[in-house]
Subunit: 344 residues, 2 copies
Amino acid sequence: MESEILAQVVRGETVESIHRGHVAVVDGDGKIVLSKGNPETITFFRSSSKAFQAFPVLTSGAAERFGFSDAEIALACGSHSGEAVHTETAAKMLAKINLNETDLRCGAHPPFNEEIAEALIRADEKPTQFHNNCSGKHAAMLALGKHLNADLTSYENLENPVQQAILDTVSLFTDVRKTEIKIGIDGCAAPNFALPIVAMARSFARLVFPPKIFDAETREACRRIVSAMINYPQMIGGTDRLDTVLMQSARGKIISKIGAEGVFCAGVLPCERWKKGLGIAVKIEDGDDKRARAVVIIELLRAFGVIDETNDEKLRAFSPMPIKNRRGDTVGEVAATLNLECGI
Amino acid sequence: MESEILAQVVRGETVESIHRGHVAVVDGDGKIVLSKGNPETITFFRSSSKAFQAFPVLTSGAAERFGFSDAEIALACGSHSGEAVHTETAAKMLAKINLNETDLRCGAHPPFNEEIAEALIRADEKPTQFHNNCSGKHAAMLALGKHLNADLTSYENLENPVQQAILDTVSLFTDVRKTEIKIGIDGCAAPNFALPIVAMARSFARLVFPPKIFDAETREACRRIVSAMINYPQMIGGTDRLDTVLMQSARGKIISKIGAEGVFCAGVLPCERWKKGLGIAVKIEDGDDKRARAVVIIELLRAFGVIDETNDEKLRAFSPMPIKNRRGDTVGEVAATLNLECGI
């Protein structure tokens, strides 16, 4: 099955560009509730996998041993903007395990938050590895490595026990055998996972509504991850970032996590309408991270009744997304083209 | 006809994202030499139209009256990086018509050249309208306006004689009636033109090989625009920018001009193989400006025998385009998937 057109860019009255993609939504029983394009499309999980990369830190006992707070757990699940609250939290996590910035192996990049990025330039300072949006994830990986007595200088290698524990977790939640998961290297140098998007949706459904086959420890870790993400949305993204705005707007109804190359996953917590919760996965075929993904997922989450942007200015800024010229006039828009009302 | 897959993003051994699009190549007789996807796809010409927006400055006599140099004509046809040579040339053009920066109506944006953009931040200076990649085009529009005694405070409005002269030119070269050209507002606030990409290809073919139906003045203006672009490739883009690198690499064989939202046009000058030249137009369906467009056009231009990247490091940096993690390791690539050899 081919991808479907999910969003279009309109300038004046003319469609200028279009974005195609795939959507998979499953309920707590793993049943497909909605699909667009091909839900079996394989692509990388990217940062949408972070909750599962953080997971064995909880089940191994490392989080308890090192006294990680919910805010720190949330940062490990997030792709943060490099704001002070993020870099300081990552530093605290490393302090708790007696390691420091140079032990991270994620590399550095300018903070996603443009004000902070400009402030660094103005101060003639280079970004550090703490500014890397994955620094919380890497701090958690180091904690797991320390707890497992693994080699800490190679914690990001697939063969390292840290990455094997993560791969086991991804396999458990996606229900895809380890041997069937192809590996690629993510932007932060950690292994990442090529999976059908329906399996990504399944993993989020299981996170918010753990199946009975999971043991008590695993179910408790699910509860804590979900609760940490919901209580600290600022740690998942940052000021005006999509995940943060979505989770704040949904007020405890969802966990939400973008991934690079146009990936997005969310879990809808069990509620009156969706008694066993939902898992949602979207892939914008061309990898768009800037515009199509935002309008598509807002349309989806609205159709599923978990957000309402009517009175939410921050959310409305994302969809439809205005196209402005350099003088600030609106000259077009990016809008979702999913026709969902009859599909759910 | 649907778009075709033109490029793919591969991480490890897995295709992570794909880019679709349309290609139209016509010869000097207007005959289609190659097409991919749907050559009748309508989208905006964007900055690939700049040679035609500069055109009436020549045919009206404005360029001669104000003594515009070939470098200045080239800047009017370019989307520059905001380097000193660009902003100074735009300033000189305005000085020649006794106007200044505040008369421009293009708005300001940070220079495309990252070093210059960072230097501005460091100096706590805001970008000016001179830094706008379209400042040469807008200076030329003002010159035309002055020459035509048009209202200079509204030179960017469609009703203004400046924009009507440009629309006439676009219609002449694309062979599309004015009334059939839908208008949208470009990023620089000037009108832009929705056209089938085959018409864009035709306009570039006519620019490099003017048909006999064109009068002597028009043919002479074609010659001068082409010659200005070829002699001043630095003015069309800037340091390490795609158009500049392509034209430098092709050594006088092509004119090349990107447009926003994944548009690209080129004209291949008449040569032994293409006796009446070629006009090339590409649209990446999703509007990609960063990666798919570059690999696709390099593949095309190589297949048509006008570039050879074997010994050209700057060109090889664009295609295949490496994907690097934050530590600088190559973890994937973006590559064209056109299978051209048998198609030409």
